[in-house]
Symmetry: C3
Subunit: 669 residues, 3 copies
């Protein structure tokens, strides 16, 4: 389901008119038009101003704003306003309060103060959403429903008694019997056996490590509990307006929610992108989330719902987006397949916790700020790109991303608390990004056969579906790559019997006998056996026994000297690679280039580090994006490509210069 009414790309931002008197609203509309805004997320935190007690609603001000938007031809991504419960509700309904691990309450007065399983929250939000849905269902400004906001941003876990009871219900549905729980969690260990459901508790503050199965299931339960909050709203809205798309905004680098499960319930995948704009932050960090969102969206559209036009306010130190950087990040969205670019927020607050978060209209209050001028310019550029808006990204490499794996691998007590799932995924993603090889983010249940190369970084948890697919995929000619600490545990987080990497052992042709994680000050060195190439490795090493595979690189230090470090196994028509340590970025880039080349996947073009290259392919044409995230001019070589530069309509081929913090978009021949 698309936002049908928008021609080309969506452009706009969060609009909180209730913070300002009506005298500002017409001025806002005019400035929005000036900036090319066509979509506004409206009223996300307006609950308290819409409802003053359980019986009394006041939509007058929102009516006015909606009418104004309609008058000015701006569409509304209208919020259900349920992200922050009004203060009046807590005195009557204390089940609203979330409770922390220690058993203490989190109070209202900030935002998102609600227990995800609170019956009062469910009832109050359902009533509000129905009211809003009925009131605006036929409003001409309505283009999309914005449910809640950034679910789990501040309360990703609650430990209250309501949650404890709901957790038991959830477990009953999953396991049927209490002995099913015992078996899954392995409660024979440490005398943790449960004899009745009432004994089961959330993983509240305790004496030392929790049962990992309990922790994993609690993460699943919490993600599901929040999803239930979303679904309560969604079902009401779908019933009232079957044709209006529904979204809720995802977040960057976000772990608490299983977005794969959530994405199935969302019509337009939207997300909030807040990369640290300081010099030196690799743009692949943000690109990965774009590709993740595109992967989550599948055939549905995805777009950026929030980014800051300059600085944010919640980092310890909040640097600005220096001139040009907002444009580069905006265009990165488009370059990676997005259908819209929006900001938080339209007009900068004078009061409240976010008053130093940048906005399109800054505290200068006028049109003359650097930031607003850039906003206007980007709006203009986006309008000119309208013909691209239905084109797609194509990739021959898939990287598997998995939330349950993420939860399990980072909770595990041992072997190393320094292992970050996101960091290892980024290692492999960045290697491809820097080699200018397009990547799709895929999932354990995705169809691998659509790719020439499939990478499963830190694939600690292997679900049966994946285990079955990988052998078939490689056997049929696919190339599979995985890293250290993969193939360890099943979906109950139980270690596979008979050694690692469990169900991947045959296809990889190895057995991993022991993990030797490295303290900060430690390292080893690996060296390729048959060609140039070596690297220090940090974080992790392994003692690997070959069972048919060949060593591509070996360790050279310590008791692992001479043992395999990177292995390659020919399996059927394909190949399976294993990387048992964490090499440097340069080595990773060369290794992935080697593997891809072997699999006949090649870089789009030749370009230096710091330059991002993508191609969007439409039904009739293709466009290449070249984004220079460095601050110096660079020269890229288009190789076999040629086309028309959209900026000056000139034909380009061969070598091409791109200015620092600038970009080129080329309509390919």
């Amino acid at each position: 389901m698309r936002i049908e009414r928008l021609k080309g790309f969506a452009y706009g931002g969060d609009y909180n008119p209730e913070q300002w008197g009506p005298e500002y609203w017409v001025e806002d509309m005019k400035l929005m038009k000036k900036a090319g805004v066509n979509l506004i997320s409206l009223g996300i935190f307006s609950w308290a101003k819409l409802q003053k007690d359980e019986q009394t609603f006041d939509f007058s001000w929102l009516d006015t704003v909606m009418d104004l938007l309609a008058e000015y031809g701006i569409a509304a991504d209208l919020a259900t306003a349920t992200a922050a419960v009004p203060a009046w509700a807590y005195g009557r309904y204390p089940d609203l309060f979330p409770v922390d691990k220690q058993g203490n309450r989190l109070w209202y007065g900030s935002r998102q103060t609600y227990c995800p399983n609170s019956p009062s929250y469910h009832r109050l939000t359902a009533a509000l959403v129905r009211m809003i849905g009925e009131r605006y269902k036929d409003h001409p400004a309505l283009a999309m429903w914005h449910v809640n906001n950034e679910y789990s941003c501040h309360v990703s876990v609650c430990y209250c008694d309501t949650c404890a009871a709901e957790f038991r219900t959830w477990l009953k549905q999953r396991y049927g019997t209490i002995d099913g729980v015992n078996a899954s969690w392995g409660t024979s260990f440490w005398s943790q056996w449960y004899y009745s459901w009432e004994e089961v508790m959330p993983p509240r503050q305790t004496t030392t490590q929790h049962n990992p199965g309990q922790v994993l299931d609690y993460q699943r339960f919490m993600s599901d509990s929040l999803l239930n909050c979303y679904l309560i709203e969604k079902h009401i809205l779908r019933e009232i307006t079957p044709d209006v798309p529904i979204t809720t905004n995802f977040m960057l680098e976000w772990k608490p929610l299983d977005y794969v499960k959530w994405a199935k319930e969302i019509d337009v995948i939207t997300w909030d992108s807040y990369p640290n704009p300081a010099v030196g932050v690799h743009p692949a960090r943000n690109a990965l989330d774009h590709d993740l969102m595109r992967g989550l969206a599948g055939d549905k559209p995805f777009m950026l719902l929030e980014q800051s036009p300059s600085q944010v306010n919640w980092r310890k130190v909040n640097t600005v987006k220096y001139p040009g950087l907002n444009r580069l990040y905006s265009m990165q969205t488009i370059a990676r397949g997005g259908e819209g670019v929006m900001y938080f927020q339209w007009r900068q607050s004078r009061r409240g916790a976010e008053k130093f978060h940048a906005a399109c209209i800054t505290h200068t209050g006028d049109e003359h700020s650097r930031v607003f001028k850039e906003v206007v310019s980007i709006g203009k550029e986006l309008k000119e790109l309208a013909e691209l808006s239905t084109s797609k990204i194509e990739a021959r490499v898939g990287i598997i991303y998995d939330y349950e794996n993420w939860w399990a691998v980072e909770y595990a007590p041992g072997p190393s608390g320094e292992v970050s799932y996101r960091a290892i995924v980024l290692d492999y993603y960045t290697a491809c990004y820097d080699a200018h090889i397009p990547v799709d983010i895929i999932f354990q249940e995705s169809d691998l056969s659509a790719y020439d190369v499939v990478i499963a970084p830190l694939c600690y948890m292997v679900r049966p579906s994946l285990a079955q697919q990988v052998e078939r995929y490689v056997s049929n000619g696919g190339t599979f790559v995985t890293s250290f600490f993969s193939g360890i545990a099943d979906e109950e987080d139980a270690v596979f019997e008979n050694g690692y990497p469990g169900p991947l052992r045959t296809v990889l042709g190895i057995q991993v006998e022991e993990f030797n994680p490295l303290e900060d000050h430690m390292y080893n060195v690996i060296a390729n056996r048959e060609q140039a190439g070596e690297s220090t490795v940090s974080l992790w090493t392994e003692y690997v026994r070959l069972e048919g595979a060949q060593a591509y690189a070996e360790y050279t230090q310590d008791y692992l000297a001479g043992e395999p470090a990177v292995t390659r196994n020919t399996f059927g028509e394909g190949a399976a690679w294993y990387v048992s340590a964490r090499p440097e970025a340069g080595y990773m880039r060369e290794l992935l280039l080697h593997i891809c080349t072997e699999a006949k996947v090649k870089p789009l073009i030749t370009a230096p580090l710091g330059v991002e290259v993508t191609i969007r392919t439409g039904s009739a044409a293709s466009w290449m994006f070249i984004l220079n995230f460095t601050r110096e001019p660079v020269t890229v070589d288009l190789g076999e490509y040629s086309g028309t530069d959209l900026r000056d309509r000139r034909t380009v081929r061969g070598k091409l210069e791109v200015a620092g913090t600038d970009l080129r978009i080329i309509k390919l021949d």
Copy 2:
């Protein structure tokens, strides 16, 4: 109101005789006389030993000590003993317990365990104070009342239900209506609107940032709540002994209390100075607090009520005051206008949490310790300086210090959590100190016209009184200096409309368009336009537009290259300077010297770094203090001054050597 009976300077310390048997007390008196002690703070933590239940008091031991003091001619700064509630009170009156942000109780068994709004605390302290007041009102040893001790040292905030209720009362008095609160705090933001008073809460543990207006008002409320505790005692004492001065001791580098408001209620400003004695700690840190206390005192006396004769016990590592340092810091008090120097404590404890805090009588228990010998020597020196005791400090430069600003600027979520108000004030203060230019600490409501140069570092919050004064002041020929992130918010912490620096924009002739705070590893460089001088800058940079001002220095790096960094605006007869970043100390010293020179304010004399120079001016004579805080001999140049060295009565002029960790006091001709 002075301590009339003391001739010359006060000298003495905290005396806790209840920790020792009466057999020690006469010995104490003799040693006090030997050390030149004339004032003793008595019984600060003696409540439990004075009152064994709500009906039963026992003053017998205190009577004995007071009589001994009278007999030995030592005056008493007699404590009201309310700083630590006895254990017997808590079982009956649980409202005494402070409650932390998480909702958990702070227990007794340490000290200062009371909720500032506890009705029981108010009632119990009133009864005790009245009892003590009546008993000792005519005692010949009584010289001053010492109310409580170091208010807010350990409990600067309480979150209990009593405080919640009192906070609402406080808000009603401030704002009248609940909509007044809503308007001030901007509760349209994040759905925080309150519909009734009962909904308002202290900023207890919550999900993410609190409303900054709520936090600011809670800081005001807590400062006022503690002030109320003080006033309850003060009013009783004033009623009983209208002529006995009343004090309570302030603390160093102290943020939680608005001392400007407090100082109005105190007869003799006293404070506790505990600079880290480790080599390398700049003495300006302590000098600033002396000048602050002198500023708070205005026409009233101020004195040092506590310092350690050597080490303290509450730092992670507590180094000693190496030989001579106690004397230097003691004389710094005098050099900056103080009327007394006292220690914590007289005799070192054998038990309890402070047993490793240094005291005049150390654990050696005799007169032969290095520390005691220094105490005796300083006592002797002070006595010889008696003629100085009514002289004053004069300064042509005022630095504005403001508590509400401090609270607001350090809570703000964004732009940078690294900004420390005290550090930025110290930057400007130290620049003057190192340039040997005397400074008064003044306040937003002070009369600026008394100064040639007024500096308002990090003046984020500008109250109307200041905004009005500055234009008039500069227009009439004054020189005004302010720093980055100034002129941002009004007293409700609402950002001024239409850009920064708000009401200071006209007089400064600039607009600040954006803040670009710097992460730890980042820097920029600024260079003067017309004369030598450049500096790296850290922490903060800004994009400044000139609106009449001229650039004195410009940035040279990054996107700010060529933009103004330090600006000067001619306005009426005066000049207004703006420093948009944080330069190095050397640059700051040169800049302030330049600005002062332009304003015809010049250094007292020429002396190297590490040397502190002041002049006390009396009705008939003036005295110059030259304190060498370095450990090497230095040479200073007295310039136009000459006089008599008090140590050897020799005439000095021109170049003068001062030994390491030594000082000179010169009676000027």
Copy 3:
């Protein structure tokens, strides 16, 4: 009381068969036999699987395992299974929950969740222990009782109301009257005086430092409370099986329990050794705990009950024991007098919090892992050493170790929070270790006359027994060595009157006038007066006055330049040394060598750093152990010793090479 049935050394590990189906158990027995296992710690966390509610027990599976052990000739160290309370108990008996300092509950679902003073815990464990005792008292596999597990590992302090009440009872027993408490704790300080028992509380969360006396007594009380838990079990078992030895396992570097008091109640001292196996960790850290255990055992046996065959899972980063290191650490146990070497655990878990803790049978599940092969090899080697198993260690140097001192010196607010008792003990211990001089760990009440040199590092608290002994000991010719911050406080943690080092002042011939602890970045230098030798010193310096002693080394920097740093006092027939700072390791080694040589104690042999040398002496023969903890071959010089190398039965004398990570055992002539 010995484990009579074992011939030679005990070898085995923790066995948790309840985590596995019975189909694994026979395989386990066979592999145990293969590895030379003769003792197994059985069922430590099996409570929940043995008892499903207060009335219902199920021992069937344990019967099977015990029978299997008997059948295979493996002895059982049978657990009482009380270390983790089953979940079913908490709903009925909430007094089981420990409560943290803030007043919040610690929940079950991990392990060791019980309040040490919970009446329910006492009752439930007594019932279980009686049941187990009666059932297995005559079982042929039973060799030793294993009470609970690692007491205080996770809950070393509880602050609940039950504990508060018991604490008062404990204090009544210790002090008789409430004024006895007041006197001991010095509650005249800070108004802390108690008028009734009900006012006394645990040192719960408060405003700033607690009363040190209260904290010290609470540590004593908690150690005693846990000891009471042990004694409840012990008395039942002793009654049922008077001849079966009883143990509970101690921990490495463990502070919360006064093991000296505990050891008196234990038949076989057992402990759990988990040194960080990363390269660069000094083996003396672990050797010290071995010697401590040997000292605690006295005439009783001691053995290693747990070590990991490779990595653990609870460090932030858990490196493996590289090849050979498990053997070296296992043999270190034997080399230092131990009677057994055991592992945690036999078979690696697939589920639960410890699944990444190494085990004898790894996740490979087979006999072919490096780890299992080493386990087998060590088992074989131990069997060959059986003749050594009753031999003993002899030492002429004693180092005093004291728990109450440890508690007191590390809580003290001031002079330095950086002082670690264990680190300073290690300084002196390591100096002897590196000099190859055998050491006994002794206690304040030990008979000093058994030693030529007695070292009391950081002997802050001096109990009367020690004070009396030291003068007599030195007077009779002994050599006494102590460090800075010694002789400060009595057993109530009250500072001695009339100066430091209190009762040691006469024998040391000095007075310490002041402590000057050093911040991280500070240092001083000391230099010997009459011979070569100097060292930087960190952490601490002191100003020492000589009162008869002579300066052996002096400070050379800062105001202490020329003052005594290391002193030696001739006293009667002996000598007393004082080291007032913390020198480098090399200086310490030379200093201790100098002192020992003067006292006619000499190194066993000449060997380089990193090599550990010990001698076990039996009734008919002696054996020298040479353990090379470096990874390179080293050469040692046997000096006057010669003997037979047990490995190849060849005669050795003079220079001898030992390979890296290898060892030699020589039966001496």
